[in-house]
């Protein structure tokens, strides 16, 4: 900072040009004095003095810098909320409720297998292993339900849904217990399940299918909806905040530059170091701020589009696939409802991968096998509209390379699963129920192994997306750390530099 080297060239203007201004001495009492000051301020004649103008300008500069900091803070606040919801609240909720659906679905699948094999206890994975998996799934379901309840937070509708699932689970286990007792008493050969066993299992399975699974699935969808809404809202705000930061930063820069030019003219000084530093600081803050907001918008986009959307799609595809596979067991277990279970299988398979049948073809499984197997085995990453369904959604989302390769192996594995299903139903249609049961349970066939391979392919595709999700959230968290304090501190520093810059100029007038 420099000391005054000359007198201002228009010193006379200061007091003489404002004859009408009531001098401070005329104010007798504090209140009147205050009112007098306010009137002075409003009348605006103080602006006709050089120090008055400098003070006014300084205030304006500080206000614009504060506005810049505020715009940046609000933008970052939105980014922080978006990352919190997507990465730390609703995202994990999707995983927890997805696990719940899985565990529930697996429980019912294991029960169907145990009842189907009857006294042939080593068929398929075997009764002991099925019971072990049932217990495991039950404990997973309880844990996932507790987690889902915790994550539901203050959302009473969601909490109530979780509670209904927990209550229904108790009833389900009671019915399964009855069915298992009846099953053991009857000691029936595989596939010849007595009426009372089937009847009790129907009650349990209906409860699962009509009440428990839909609620668990809807919880997942609802969490997905929360993520989508938060994403759209927060990302739009973050993107808009860039313009606000640019506008506020541009305003602050204009004020600083024009003020500096005016001071240069007024005081015939080329550069004011304080103001120059303040200007540079403002430019830096705007540039870095816009950069950070841009990066955050990018992280949110990647977390949502490349990660979350596909993770959710894969979670739904796995859930529906397992449920469809269990429908094969139910189809064999309960011939009275075979039509329903066959139709359920077609509906679920269509939800996973769908090709519109030609007008002259009936929309049944025979048509579906042909169309779906063809679509799955001739997949090309550049043809994004060859089929619909969840895998179709995924085909439109994946990027060519690792992701599309993973999808291709999912599709190949799915085609095998479909061929196995076709074979199993052909055996039933030809009257060889026992052969169909052996085939489905993996005796002399690879049906179970093929399904496990398909599931593994789905999981590995999901893993590429959840890695992308974690990466984006991690980067977003990293990019935000420290940015709570940067804008206000930077604004205070810039404002201080402005004050330091104008202080010597005001000092020339003898009062500050």
């Amino acid at each position: 900072m420099t000391t005054p080297t000359r007198q201002p060239d228009v010193p006379a203007e200061q007091p003489a040009a404002t004859p009408g201004t009531p001098p401070a001495k005329s104010a007798g009492r504090p209140l009147e004095r205050q009112r007098g000051r306010l009137a002075t301020l409003v009348r605006g004649r103080w602006l006709k003095t050089v120090p008055g103008r400098i003070r006014g300008w300084t205030a304006l500069a500080v206000v614009t810098v504060a506005a810049l900091a505020l715009a940046l803070m609000l933008g970052l606040q939105n980014a922080r909320q978006g990352v919190q919801t997507i990465g730390h609240d609703a995202g994990p909720q999707v995983v927890a409720t997805g696990n719940l659906y899985f565990a529930l679905s697996d429980m019912d699948a294991q029960v169907a297998d145990i009842l189907l094999i009857g006294r042939d206890q080593t068929l398929g994975i075997g009764r002991t292993e099925s019971l072990r998996r049932y217990d495991q799934a039950r404990s997973d379901a309880s844990r996932a339900a507790i987690q889902a309840a915790q994550l539901a937070g203050k959302d009473t509708d969601r909490q109530r849904t979780v509670q209904e699932v927990i209550d229904g689970l108790g009833e389900y286990q009671r019915l399964v217990g009855q069915a298992l007792v009846l099953n053991d008493q009857s000691a029936h050969p595989a596939g010849e399940v007595p009426g009372p066993v089937v009847g009790t299992y129907r009650q349990a399975s209906d409860l699962m299918k009509l009440e428990l699974l839909p609620k668990a699935y809807n919880l997942t969808l609802d969490s997905g909806a929360t993520v989508r809404q938060s994403y759209q809202e927060k990302r739009t705000s973050v993107l808009a905040a860039r313009y606000w930061v640019l506008a506020a930063g541009g305003g602050a820069l204009l004020v600083l530059v024009f003020g500096q030019l005016a001071i240069t003219r007024e005081f015939r000084r080329l550069l004011n170091p304080g103001l120059v530093l303040a200007t540079v600081g403002t430019i830096l803050l705007v540039a870095v701020g816009v950069g950070v907001l841009n990066a955050q918008a990018g992280h949110l986009l990647r977390a949502k589009r490349d990660g979350f959307d596909s993770v959710l799609t894969m979670s739904r595809a796995r859930a529906i696939s397992h449920s469809a596979f269990a429908d094969e067991s139910r189809f064999l277990l309960d011939p009275g409802r075979a039509d329903t279970y066959e139709q359920n299988y077609l509906d679920k398979a269509s939800a996973i991968l769908y090709v519109e049948p030609p007008k002259d073809k009936p929309a049944n499984l025979a048509t579906y096998y042909a169309l779906a197997v063809k679509a799955a085995t001739t997949y090309r990453p550049d043809d994004r509209s060859a089929f619909l369904g969840l895998l179709g959604d995924e085909a439109r989302q994946v990027r060519e390379g690792k992701e599309s390769d993973a999808l291709a192996s999912v599709l190949r594995a799915y085609a095998t699963v479909l061929s196995n299903d076709q074979r199993m139903r052909a055996l039933v249609a030809s009257g060889d129920r026992r052969g169909a049961i052996d085939f489905r349970m993996g005796r002399g066939s690879s049906a179970i192994r093929d399904f496990d391979a398909y599931d593994a392919a789905l999981r590995s595709l999901a893993a590429t997306h959840s890695a992308a999700f974690d990466r984006a959230i991690h980067q977003a968290d990293g990019g935000l750390s420290g940015w709570k304090v940067v804008p206000p501190v930077a604004a205070v520093v810039i404002a201080a530099l402005v004050l330091v810059g104008v202080r010597p100029r005001l000092a020339e007038f003898g009062r500050i």
């Binding site: 605006g44 305003g251 329903t340």
Partner: protein, 296 residues
């Protein structure tokens, strides 16, 4: 945005010697104001991205059926039925009271078009969610999963499952897929008898000119209500997911409707609607929230 350093130029009016600086400062204020304008515009336009959403509407036009007893039936200028009750419940929760809902008969063939061109805001008209339709329409729900079942004369004991329809005369409604599900998809050699509309089947069934009428159980239950001489055999074999269709892409609207539907089952309203229209018809009614399809 603080954009105009107003007082600064005004102050120099009486000191002509400072005119250049005055101009410069005034120019600064203009530039500042212009710099802020686009930002302000961008800010303003943020909220209006959901122009075609069913959310935040003063009134709603809802497409329903007009000729389906129990579901959507136009009686003396008023629509009534389960679909109408569901639509009214949803609209009310969306903030549109019954007085500001306009119901409009929307036949099956024009549902997609009516949604697309905005003739109706949403469709609640036994509208099954299918993968192909999902490419044109965003579906909330399903609000109910109906199942194809078969309506027979109570005196007829020979039909207890869909396979018993072999060589029986069944109603084949023009444009409907239901009878094909028996003859084509299941290859059951039933004899289709062509009729123009669903309501034509009932007199034929009662006077014995056909043996069975097979379609969604809710539709059958609607016809069967008040007719003790016909009954549902209770052997469902398909899932028909009745969704609420809205303009493609209205995800926020779809998600909101799904939450409302969850509430409709939780507070018992859905059970009441179903009971009111279909009790004592032999249809197995599900009073627990269906598995939603997901908004896309």
């Amino acid at each position: 945005m603080p954009s105009t350093p107003q007082g600064v130029p005004a102050g120099t009016r009486r000191s002509p010697g400072h005119r250049p600086r005055t101009r410069r400062l005034r120019a600064a204020s203009v530039v500042l104001a212009m710099a802020c304008a686009p930002a302000a515009l961008a800010g303003c336009s943020l909220g209006s991205s959901d122009q075609h959403s069913i959310l935040h509407r003063h009134s709603l036009v809802i497409g329903v059926k007009g000729d389906q007893p129990g579901l959507g039936l136009l009686v003396n200028g008023h629509y009534q039925g389960f679909d109408v009750d569901v639509a009214t419940y949803v609209a009310t929760r969306l903030g549109v009271p019954a007085s500001r809902i306009t119901f409009r008969t929307t036949p099956s063939s024009v549902r997609e078009k009516a949604i697309e061109d905005g003739t109706v805001d949403m469709v609640v008209a036994t509208y099954s969610i299918t993968p192909a339709r999902k490419t044109q329409v965003t579906f909330a729900g399903p609000y109910y999963v109906a199942h194809q079942d078969t309506l027979v004369r109570t005196s007829d004991r020979s039909i207890t499952s869909v396979h018993d329809l072999a060589r029986k005369k069944i109603c084949a409604v023009k444009g409907s897929n239901s009878w094909r599900r028996i003859t084509d998809e299941r290859s059951i050699p039933a004899v289709p008898v062509d009729v123009a509309t669903y309501s034509d089947c009932m007199p034929l069934l009662m006077n014995g000119r056909i043996d069975a009428f097979s379609t969604d159980d809710l539709i059958l239950a609607g016809f069967a209500a008040g007719h003790p001489d016909v009954h549902l055999i209770g052997a469902p074999f398909t899932d028909e997911k009745y969704g609420i269709g809205m303009r493609k892409g209205d995800l926020a609207g779809c998600e909101a409707v799904n939450r409302i539907l969850t509430g409709m089952y939780q507070d018992g309203s859905a059970g009441r609607f179903l009971d009111h229209w279909f009790a004592d018809t032999g249809a197995k009614l599900t009073t627990s929230v269906p598995q939603f399809e997901g908004c896309s």
